[in-house]
Subunit: 109 residues, 2 copies
């Protein structure tokens, strides 16, 4: 468990969510040298097909994964490391939160 | 549920984690006008004490929440919106992922 708890308390929902980001990334990433873990294009595609299938299916563009890979790979080393991966999660979460807020507004009308 | 699923499939671990980020934020945030939801300093403190207690307890500085609030409130409106909140989650996740990698390396020695 990434978050060591001094007491016997269970990790919170937020800690569990952050732990999931790390575990999901490492489920697909491999060591690309110097003990650095990252996703190749193939691994990013596998991750998205398994973990973000709804989002991926909503992308009409068949080259969506390649474009996302290009966007994420900010240091252009042909791999996506955890920091680059988290920026995908941030972008999607922010987009979903806007939907969530709109749903709440609609719910009031 | 934030992620609508076309099939009867359950949300993935990553989708559940992103959904948690949104739900946790909205558990503490309130409408600060123009249907914008954000955390006051008090609400950020409540969120951190309940959801990031391990992290908060590790901060020796009694003014930790104020410093974090200042760091997060990038538009200086006295509140932390979802985008600003997610940057806290990113920072902590990246720090934890480095610990996670170090643990894996230690595990190999």
């Amino acid at each position: 468990m990434v978050f060591r708890h001094t007491s016997a308390a269970m990790p919170s929902e937020l800690e569990t969510a952050m732990e999931s980001l790390i575990k999901v990334f490492h489920r697909y990433a491999t060591n690309v040298g110097k003990e650095r873990f990252a996703l190749s294009r193939r691994q990013l595609k596998d991750l998205m097909e398994n973990e973000l299938s709804t989002f991926l299916q909503s992308q009409k563009d068949p080259a969506a994964v390649d474009k996302i890979m290009k966007d994420l790979d900010s240091n252009c080393d042909g791999h996506v490391d955890f920091e680059e991966f988290v920026s995908l999660v941030v972008g999607l979460s922010i987009a979903c939160e806007h939907c969530y807020q709109n749903k709440m507004k609609m719910g009031k009308k």
